[in-house]
């Protein structure tokens, strides 16, 4: 007979640190779990995910499937229902549920466009409340059981996630999805001189590296947002898909024309780390949507401007559309956040403190030789024309700064007189 493994001391310690109050309860629960066939590792992982004594007891109270006769898989309640079904008795409680808003007919504003989120929001359960009473996945406007579990959402206030344009942006994103495989005229790629191909590949490598942050970042926060604000979550899902496609398309570009992937830099990775590990959603959103994607939007515009063939033209144009939606959400989210924050002055002060550091990323970005020199080479039609190309970089500097400051001002977050970013390129 196999002896049950001993419960490691560290596992007990972990449970106690996570709020289990009795060592005996931990040992007893762990032994029961092992007896059910679970491993010590599984028990440890479940503790990491927040297993409480109550939930463990509830689970372990259920009769193990292995102990049941074949076919006996139903709970007592389920078995009663099955027995009733056999007698032709239906429950039909759902037919008699309260229907406080029955008889709704959402109208399409534009039949050719179809039934939009804005159309249905106009009809029923439209604008979300500022702070929903529950933390559930139940759709806004539904009748909800009184004893639903708490999902543990962290973002339960509208101002923490909302922007007034988010429903429109979601619809726009769905309507403008594209395929990096099908919709790019890859057969129009033409061989480029070595320096130009290297320049394109360096930019494509950089964009392949940075774009996926805008998938990882929203994915990290999504589950923490109350589903009452489903429009925001849905929009962020489109953003995650957009950015997956951007990684794909630039990776394909780097590998499709005789070049290859080139250098990734420590500084870039540090910037991405700052976004990924931002302590709050608004901080990360500002760093990513407003600052980072604002800069990349201009890179996409420049990429379209500099494209040497229809393939690149299409890549950059399509990415530009996607990126502009993300920037637009971020700008309007910042505005909503600041306008509705219960301690507005403090929130503005905190955002200014964040922006002080974030703005250092702009000159960092625009003095990075792995970014501006490939752009200048493309603008100058080769290394020989790099001086001419740098003239265009100086123009891009001014515009990136201007557009960033314009977006901040639009959000009610004026940085124009305090930003340290030079108005002109220092070269």
């Amino acid at each position: 007979m196999t002896q049950a493994p001993a419960i490691p001391r560290e596992l007990v310690q972990k449970a106690l640190e996570k709020g289990w109050t009795s060592e005996a309860a931990v040992l007893d629960t762990a032994q029961q779990a092992l007896a059910r066939g679970f491993s010590i590792q599984q028990f440890g992982t479940t503790l990491d995910m927040g297993l409480t004594p109550d939930r463990a007891a509830m689970f372990l109270k259920m009769e193990p499937l292995a102990a049941r006769a074949p076919g006996q898989v139903f709970t007592e309640e389920q078995q009663t229902y099955v027995d009733n079904l056999k007698k032709g008795r239906y429950d039909l409680q759902w037919l008699n549920d309260p229907r406080p808003n029955w008889g709704l007919k959402a109208k399409m504003r534009d039949a050719e466009r179809g039934l939009t989120l804005q159309d249905i929001n106009k009809t029923y359960a439209g604008e979300p409340e500022d702070a929903p009473a529950l933390r559930t996945m139940a759709p806004r406007g539904a009748v909800i059981d009184p004893d639903v579990p708490d999902m543990g959402y962290v973002y339960n206030d509208k101002y923490l996630v909302w922007s007034d344009n988010v429903s429109a942006l979601y619809e726009e994103a769905c309507g403008r999805q594209w395929s990096a495989t099908r919709d790019i005229p890859w057969d129009e790629l033409k061989p480029l001189p070595d320096d130009m191909e290297r320049a394109q590949c360096q930019i494509a490598t950089f964009l392949s590296e940075v774009e996926m942050i805008a998938s990882d970042f929203p994915a990290k926060w999504l589950w923490q947002m109350n589903q009452h604000f489903h429009e925001v979550k849905m929009f962020l899902c489109t953003q995650a898909m957009d950015e997956a496609r951007h990684l794909e398309v630039f990776r394909k570009r780097a590998l499709a024309n005789g070049g290859g992937l080139m250098r990734c830099l420590r500084g870039t990775e540090m910037g991405l780390w700052g976004i990924l590990h931002a302590p709050t959603y608004i901080q990360g959103s500002f760093l990513m949507h407003v600052v980072g994607e604002g800069l990349v939007l201009d890179i996409f515009r420049s990429g379209e401007f500099l494209a040497k063939n229809k393939t690149e033209k299409e890549i950059y144009r399509l990415c530009m559309q996607d990126e502009a939606r993300h920037v637009s959400y971020g700008t309007m989210h910042l505005k909503y956040f600041l306008e509705h924050h219960p301690e507005r002055e403090r929130a503005i002060a905190e955002m200014h403190a964040l922006a002080e550091g974030a703005e250092m990323g702009i000159p960092g970005f625009l003095t990075n030789p792995f970014i501006i020199e490939p752009l200048a080479v493309l603008m100058g039609d080769g290394v020989k024309g790099i001086d001419k190309g740098m003239e265009a970089i100086r123009m891009v500097w001014v515009r990136m700064r201007e557009e960033y400051l314009n977006r901040c001002a639009l959000a009610g977050f004026d940085r124009r007189d305090i930003t340290k970013v030079p108005a002109q390129a220092p070269f």
Partner: protein, 149 residues
């Protein structure tokens, strides 16, 4: 032969653009009011194009295109002419005559708006705007000098 710029020219382009319904829908709908400002010496002519859904909802001549639109695309008649003739010649713009290419540096065309979020509409719907102007390839256009105001 249709004169540029004119309400009739934009109407004709809209008709040609709408003809390829499948492509227009695939590119996505547009919600934006776009000003077109054409300058010729000291003279100027403006138009307001109201894109709604998959079509140009309305189009009319206005005196203040930039202030009434979400954003305006402005520039000399000669540049508009070069762009439209390039599209007509190739069926689509070559690399140097796309809307983004011509506006990117603020010259020879420029984007005009005092609201950055509205300027961003130009980027968000760019492919649709480009497809709209590309439809002018099916039109024979004339470019008389603008009439004095």
């Amino acid at each position: 032969m249709v004169r540029f710029p004119s309400v009739q020219w934009f109407e004709e382009v809209a008709r040609l653009h709408s003809a390829d319904r499948e492509r227009v829908k695939r590119l996505g709908y547009v919600e934006a009011n776009v000003g077109i400002a054409v300058e010729d010496g000291g003279r100027a002519q403006g138009f307001l194009l109201e894109f709604a859904g998959y079509k140009l909802g309305s189009n009319r001549e206005v005196t203040d295109a930039a202030s009434r639109a979400d954003f305006a695309i402005a520039g000399p008649l000669s540049v508009w002419r070069e762009m439209i003739e390039n599209i007509a010649k190739n069926g689509a713009p070559d690399l140097d005559h796309t809307l983004n290419r011509l506006t990117m540096a603020g010259t020879p065309l420029r984007l005009v708006s005092d609201d950055q979020l509205k300027v961003d509409l130009f980027f968000r719907f760019n492919q649709s705007f480009q497809a709209f102007f590309d439809a002018s390839a099916g039109l024979t256009t004339e470019f008389p000098a603008l009439a004095p105001a």
